[in-house]
Amino acid sequence: MAGVEAPEIPEVSSDAGAPVGIQRGSHRPTLLEWLGMPVFLAVIGGATYFWVQSRELDSIETRVLTRDLLVTRTIEHLQLTAVSTLIVLALAVPLGILLTRRAARGAVPVVLGIANIGQGVPSFGLLAVIYVAFGFLGFTPVVFGLVAYSLLPILRNTMVGLQQVDSNLIKASRGMGLSPTMVLLKVELPLAVPVIIAGVRTALIINVGTATLGTFFGAGGLGYVVFNGIQLNRDTILVSGVVLVSGLALLVSYLAGMAGRLLSPRGL
């Protein structure tokens, strides 16, 4: 039981530290880009719903596939994802800014090394270690694990985003009399937003996937549905769980992507 494998968790590319999915040359999103993902998710969700409805459910399936239970588990899952991602944002963006300042250059390998360890350890093992270290179970230790697990992509992307800003632009801004802080706020950060947002999307997807393990550590979430489907060999439960988890991952990634589009400076 201990070495549970979860092939249904959306796969995240192993080199999540590298900046991915940056959208350049962005224009205002077209209608298709706005509506494509929501429509796709609605179709998949609807199809799953009607498929489950059309099946004759036994008592185990009826017990898991209730609206109450699924809503509760989805909310738990969203809370785990949202809280951990917000904490990671609050930690990793300032840290990334700090590490790209000239004075802090020496600390870069150390900090990246630590962040790499967080992501290198298998997620289930990381949560188990945190349980042993904390001594208690539930929401907090699992959030702690998710933070450690998804720190790297945002940190890395913040750093890369800031480093790739054309140094001539920075020099020009300084020459125009802007203070270093103003240069950071008005020039560097806005230009780094697309890369940072790409990191946020990676972190969100990692967190939605890894949060399924929360059910083993008393934090609930949709893993409860997925793993019950696996353990009890009930396809309806398994498919419903998987559709909810992967739908959630796609949805939050889509929302973050759209937010990034709106935050990016025009003309990039």
Binding site: M1, G135, F216, G218, N228, Q231, N233
Partner: protein
């Protein structure tokens, strides 16, 4: 001087005789009329937890002892993977619990209270539908139970039966906290059925779902729960000094494991396999299995050593 020579000589004679006996046929020298598996090639599998690793090694040793050429695929994977390996013929045998077959493979929801009948129904159905052969079940059963740390007994009102839990729930609901694995929380033969039979319900927020392995330490630490769902044959129950509540209404069905064989192997060696495994299953009592599990789960001994000790102590090898 002669004494020494005499001893050496007699030793040589005994050795020669025993060697001859072995070379002879084997069937006359080993107990239980086994030994008829020369030439048989059998792949042994098991699931991935301690009890299964021990049982897998017991099968391996028993089959080897009877002359079979055994391929070791012990620790095949979880229930689904191991079962799929058996039905596809990647392995020829592993030990399966009839309750698991009933609920997971056959998708039934209501267990059969009588243990012999439960075994028979599963064995018949698996033979008919999948051509798989269930040998006689082992003496021990591995079923659900609720347990709490013995030292907390006074504080929890000294419960000794599942019925006593009802009193605790009504008088001191704050202490009626329970940790379960996810499966147990939805199975008819798990928490929902138990609550129905005993006529009480744990307060909704008092039930925490955890990984199977963590339930034991969570109950032991009383964080976040005083009671934990355990398996009756698990070594950690006694090692952590947990008190098991008596199932006074006899709700939890008794699930016994059997060695299950593919038709390929069983159709050829069925009689021999019955002769080899029936005495082993008979000897695997609740106390014996719990003690073996404890050696692996708690004392961290290797499952193959534990299995070997037990097999030789009981004269099976």
């Amino acid at each position: 001087m002669n004494n020494k020579h005499l001893l050496t000589a007699s030793g040589a004679v005994v050795l020669a005789l025993s060697l001859a006996a072995c070379g002879d046929d084997g069937s006359s020298s080993t107990g239980g009329g086994s030994g008829g598996l020369e030439g048989a090639s059998i792949t042994v599998g098991s699931k991935d937890f301690d009890e299964q690793l021990i049982l897998g090694n017991i099968s391996k040793l028993a089959l080897e002892g009877a002359g079979a050429d055994v391929k070791d695929e012990i620790n095949t994977g979880g229930t689904d993977v191991t079962r799929a390996a058996l039905t596809s013929g990647a392995i020829d045998t592993y030990w399966e619990y009839n309750g698991t077959a009933w609920i997971s493979f056959f998708k039934e929801t209501e267990p059969i209270p009588d243990r012999v009948e439960q075994y028979q129904v599963v064995a018949d159905r698996d033979l008919k539908e999948n051509k798989l052969h269930w040998l006689q079940p082992a003496n021990f059963n591995n079923t659900y139970a609720l347990a709490f740390p013995s030292e907390a007994s006074d504080e929890l009102g000294n419960p000794s039966t599942l019925s006593d839990l009802g009193d605790l729930i009504s008088s001191d609901p704050g202490n009626a906290t329970l940790c379960v694995e996810s499966e147990f929380s939805v199975r008819d033969d798990g928490l929902p059925g138990m609550e129905k039979t005993y006529g009480y319900q744990f307060p909704k927020n008092n039930v925490t779902v955890l990984d199977t392995a963590i339930v034991y330490s969570a109950a032991d630490k009383r964080e976040p729960c005083n009671f934990g769902e355990v398996f009756t044959s698990d070594g950690r129950v006694s090692a952590l000094d947990l008190t098991v509540l008596e199932d006074d209404k006899g709700f939890f069905p008794l699930y016994n494991p059997s060695p299950v064989f593919t038709d390929d192997v069983y159709s050829e060696y069925g009689d021999e396999l019955d002769a080899i495994f029936d005495p082993i299953s008979e000897a695997l009592t609740q106390e014996e299995m719990t003690a073996l599990n404890e050696r692996v789960s708690v004392d961290l001994e290797q499952p193959d050593d534990v299995a070997k000790d037990w097999m030789s102590e009981n004269g099976f090898i």
